[in-house]
């Protein structure tokens, strides 16, 4: 398949949007991936699940505002140029 850099940017935006729509208390807590279930043992072994939960939480916190801007720009550009 022939990738362009633009398709990579599109894929990245879609993936980050997908992570950003996972709501903390409506969804993640219900399936046991909430932030209150992630404080685990001390030691040096966080485990894969805790790492994934931390990653989701940090992506949501960091990318909330930039995603608004990027999505607006994408919407305007797609409306104008198809």
């Amino acid at each position: 398949m022939a990738f362009t850099l633009y398709s990579l940017i599109q894929a990245a935006i879609l993936c980050v949007n997908a992570v950003a729509v996972l709501h903390e208390e409506r969804f993640l807590s219900k399936i046991g991936w909430g932030v209150d279930q992630s404080v685990g043992g001390f030691g040096d072994e966080p485990g894969v699940k805790v790492q994934v939960m931390t990653l989701i939480r940090s992506v949501r916190t960091v990318m909330r505002v930039p995603l608004i801007a990027v999505n607006s720009v994408c919407i305007v550009l797609l409306l104008l140029f198809g």
């Binding site: 022939a2 990738f3 362009t4 398709s7 030691g43 040096d44 072994e45 966080p46 790492q51 990653l55």
Partner: protein, 308 residues
């Protein structure tokens, strides 16, 4: 042909200082009396005494260039602008990636490049895969064959693009857009691979000293294998292509497995608990094996359409 640079060669871009293109309208109003007289004041002593007074603009040998004082003033203005632009660009770039770290990867010499290329194509007899350290900092590629560098991947990437253009041209399928498409496809695959590696290393809490540039270097070594397969496919036809594909795939798999084994698998903590230690080496082994096994597929994917 416009090749993408992607920030890999900062030194080369900086070495070509842009020639000043002064707008004559900028100097028109003031050109009547004063700058001309000042410049004349600079020039005549320079020509008569042949001693540099005013600095860089007095050059008795360059008669034609400095005969026009406006061009000289324009050149000074332009070089000031260029310096300001250069400082601003340096400041902005050094916010994202540290240049010292990048310079480490380009500190190579010919002997290292030759040995590394031979190692990439025939790694089976190499005994010592440890990266040597020198007082806590890894040694530069000049002193250590096992150190990763970014020079070979960059050169191999560009050579691969040129070879792809040549292969397509031989089959009468060439057009300039195809070249750009090939380049961006290869680049996107590298970026995807580096991101997946970073994600898996993060999720499995593998504490290595593999930085992003290291992973980029190790991913970029497969371009050498791609060049070899495309070359033999062009020279010897389809049979040569598959033979070279098999040979270089095995070589690259072995190389990546041995190199990453040193970095990933041997960074286990000494006091790991019994229950945890059984899971971690297995997952790290999976990462190493998966990275090595991914290489032949991507080599085949990116080169098969060039050699029909």
């Amino acid at each position: 042909m416009d090749l993408p640079h992607h920030g890999y060669r900062p030194t080369k871009t900086r070495a070509r200082a842009p020639p000043p293109s002064a707008d004559p309208l900028l100097f028109d109003d003031t050109s009547s009396s004063q700058p001309a007289m000042n410049s004349q004041g600079y020039y005549t002593p320079g020509y008569s005494m042949a001693a540099p007074i005013g600095g860089p603009q007095v050059d008795p040998a360059g008669n034609n260039l400095f005969a026009d004082p406006m061009a000289n003033a324009a050149m000074m203005y332009g070089s000031t602008l260029a310096n300001q632009g250069k400082d601003m660009v340096n400041k902005e770039i050094s916010r994202f990636m540290s240049m010292n770290k990048l310079k480490y990867f380009f500190a190579v010499d010919t002997r290292y490049v030759v040995k590394k290329l031979m190692l990439l194509m025939f790694p089976y007899t190499h005994q010592d895969w440890e990266v040597r350290y020198h007082r806590d900092t890894p040694m530069t590629p000049r002193h250590d064959v096992n150190a990763p560098d970014l020079y070979i991947p960059t050169m191999a990437f560009i050579t691969y693009i040129l070879l792809a253009g040549m292969a397509l041209g031989i089959q009468q399928r060439f057009s300039p857009e195809v070249l750009g498409l090939c380049a961006s496809t290869a680049l996107v695959w590298i970026i995807i691979e580096v991101l997946v590696m970073l994600l898996s290393l993060y999720l499995l809490t593998v504490h290595t000293d593999l930085s992003t540039f290291d992973l980029l270097a190790y991913s970029g070594y497969k371009y050498v294998a791609m060049i070899l397969t495309v070359l033999s496919g062009l020279l010897f036809g389809s049979d040569g292509y598959f033979v070279a594909l098999a040979w270089s795939s095995c070589a690259i798999m072995f190389f990546i497995a041995r190199s990453l084994k040193m970095k990933i698998l041997s960074s286990l903590s000494t006091d790991s608990m019994g229950a945890g230690a059984s899971a971690k080496p297995r997952l790290r082994l999976y990462i190493t094996v998966a990275t090595a096994a991914f290489q032949p597929f991507i080599i085949y994917w990116l080169t098969s359409h060039l050699v029909r």
